[in-house]
């Protein structure tokens, strides 16, 4: 059953999109990520104009994050104060990111930057995560003890001014690193059409040293704020949000996220991380390696002017 999308002005297969939304939603709930990094490339592959895909994704990511964050907050695993500080940076980053994206489209380099961003960020994060989780799995198989955790907190994190207490994360740190982190993720979210959870989650664990129990919920909370803003900005500035597309995706997405969040309790954490790392790595390589192959067609049409 095909359905016509009024803003994208193309016709797509509706059940396919709902199923795609459900699958990505499931992964999103399972790993506590937005899932935008998976969905955006698939939408572009299905023939939806990239600008519309990136913008409409914000609505989908906000919806599925909302659906899972509530379950996390019931378990008291959202640090709202930390999420708010991150989102403060994220808001600035998103506004800057939307403008950067407009400028990149104008000079025709949006494709390049998007592909490179996918290759670099997904490649590095996927690679590191795969290495770390495979190590953990092997150690458990051999019954080897976990390596001593290097809990030495980086001094620069504590030397900075503007310290704030984050009781739920049991932290007393400067607000500067979380704001910068939020801003960086906000820029990426506007450019790559992602929520940014795949960067935020490891950064919160390894840089901010937040307890693992609050990381996912807090990341989702900050993603809701950033993507909600990105979605409204994209609609207002570029008129590229297709609500029919977003609804199709989020119908599947919110349901999938619920099942995913439930399924996540049945797997071991390191196995989940290894699987996620594998998916992240594959998407990054798939998006980025195209840059190295000789294209069949040397010319490429750029969609719409300005918008």
């Amino acid at each position: 059953m095909d359905i016509y999308l009024p803003i994208a002005e193309v016709s797509v297969n509706a059940p396919l999109l709902v199923a795609l939304g459900a699958l990505v939603g499931f992964i999103s709930g399972l790993f506590g990520i937005g899932g935008g990094f998976l969905m955006t490339p698939v939408l572009v592959f299905l023939g939806i104009p990239p600008a519309v895909a990136v913008a409409s994704m914000s609505n989908h990511v906000a919806a599925s994050s909302m659906s899972s964050v509530i379950s996390y907050s019931r378990r008291r695993s959202v640090d709202f104060r930390m999420g708010g500080v991150l989102a403060g940076g994220g808001v600035v980053g998103a506004v800057v990111g939307v403008e950067i994206f407009r400028w990149l489209r104008l000079i025709g380099q949006a494709d390049l930057v998007v592909a490179l961003a996918y290759l670099i960020f997904l490649g590095i994060i996927g690679g590191l995560m795969l290495w770390e989780s495979l190590g953990a799995i092997l150690r458990r198989r051999r019954n080897a003890p976990a390596p001593p955790r290097k809990d030495r907190r980086p001094p620069w994190l504590y030397g900075l001014p503007l310290k704030l207490r984050f009781p739920r994360s049991r932290l007393y740190i400067s607000v500067i690193p979380p704001i910068l982190l939020g801003a960086f993720v906000g820029v990426l979210s506007a450019i790559m059409g992602v929520g940014g959870g795949f960067i935020l989650v490891p950064a919160m664990v390894y840089i901010l040293r937040m307890p693992a129990s609050v990381v996912v919920g807090t990341s989702l909370f900050q993603i809701i704020i950033t993507t909600a803003l990105t979605g409204v900005l994209q609609a207002g500035r570029n008129q590229t949000v297709d609500i029919v597309l977003a609804v199709l995706l989020l119908v599947g997405g919110v349901l999938g996220a619920q099942f995913g969040a439930r399924a996540s309790t049945r797997f071991r954490a390191e196995e989940l991380r290894a699987l996620l790392a594998f998916i992240v790595l594959m998407v990054g390589l798939r998006m980025g390696l195209g840059l190295f192959f000789t294209p069949h067609e040397p010319f490429v049409l750029m969609s719409g002017i300005g918008g």
Binding site: D2, P6, M66, G108, A228, I243, V244, V300
Partner: protein, 261 residues
């Protein structure tokens, strides 16, 4: 939607010596609703020529103009990178030339070029790349910064549009179904732009256009699609806020519905 209606009643033959052409679309409006998957435009027409000279009919359907931005990939430091985009003006968003025979057999190059008949004869150009200068002692020459590659760029625009199903040439898309009565069928893909289309019906004899009729076709969104399209473009901020509010509410709703306690 475009079922085979009976051909429109013929106008009584005018008994003048000059050949004439007449045509009508079976449906002058294409409605784009949620189940739109492309459509077929059917056109019937008649050639009035008392002397019954050999005639060719060309039907050109042209959608609203849309400037085209195109870039070329080149290898820089091992990566395939887009060049600065070039904007071509005068390119229709949809274009198809249907004829009774291949266009090159019907008329000469210069004639086709003047009529913009056929994808190779579309008057598209890149004004931003042009400048007027004196060259070889000749003043006011228009040269393109793209230089000798200009034709590669231009043919790439056509090629990519053809691949997207938006430009086409249908060499036998017009057929005589009876003496003097012809029928043309033109496929409109789902990607075709919204707007007013011009349909030109040309009668050729001896390689010259001898009669012409213009018809217009409207491709418009209807119902919910139209309402959403207008809302998104006329009041983008309220649309964006509403879309986001809906998304957040849906997420909240699903979470509450699944709550087990």
């Amino acid at each position: 939607m475009a079922a085979a209606h009976p051909p429109p009643a013929l106008v009584p033959l005018q008994m003048g010596a000059a050949p004439a052409i007449s045509a009508a679309l079976t449906d002058a409006t294409v409605r784009v609703s949620s189940d739109f998957r492309g459509d077929k435009i059917v056109l019937y027409g008649a050639v009035f020529d008392p002397q019954a000279r050999p005639s060719d009919v060309v039907v050109i359907v042209r959608g609203p103009d849309q400037p085209v931005r195109i870039a070329r990939k080149s290898k820089i430091a091992g990566l395939w990178i887009n060049s600065r985009p070039v904007v071509f003006q005068g390119a229709p968003g949809f274009y198809i030339a249907a004829s009774t025979r291949p266009l090159d057999d019907i008329a000469r190059f210069a004639t086709l070029r003047k009529l913009e008949a056929g994808v190779d004869h579309l008057a598209i150009h890149a004004p931003d790349e042009q400048r007027v200068e004196t060259r070889y002692g000749i003043r006011d020459m228009v040269v393109s910064r793209l230089g000798a590659d200009y034709f590669d760029w231009r043919s790439a625009v056509i090629r990519l549009k053809e691949r997207a199903g938006l430009y086409d040439t249908s060499d036998h898309g017009v057929r005589f179904v009876d003496k003097g009565l012809f029928r043309a069928e033109i496929a409109l893909p789902a990607e075709a732009p919204i707007g007013r289309y011009d349909v030109r019906i040309l009668l050729f004899q001896n390689g010259q256009p001898v009669s012409e009729k213009d018809r217009s076709l409207t491709v418009e969104q209807v119902g919910l699609e139209r309402a959403l399209y207008l809302w998104a473009h006329q009041r983008p901020w309220s649309y964006g806020l509403a879309a986001m509010a809906f998304a957040l509410a849906a997420g909240w709703g699903a979470s509450s519905a699944f709550r087990r306690d």
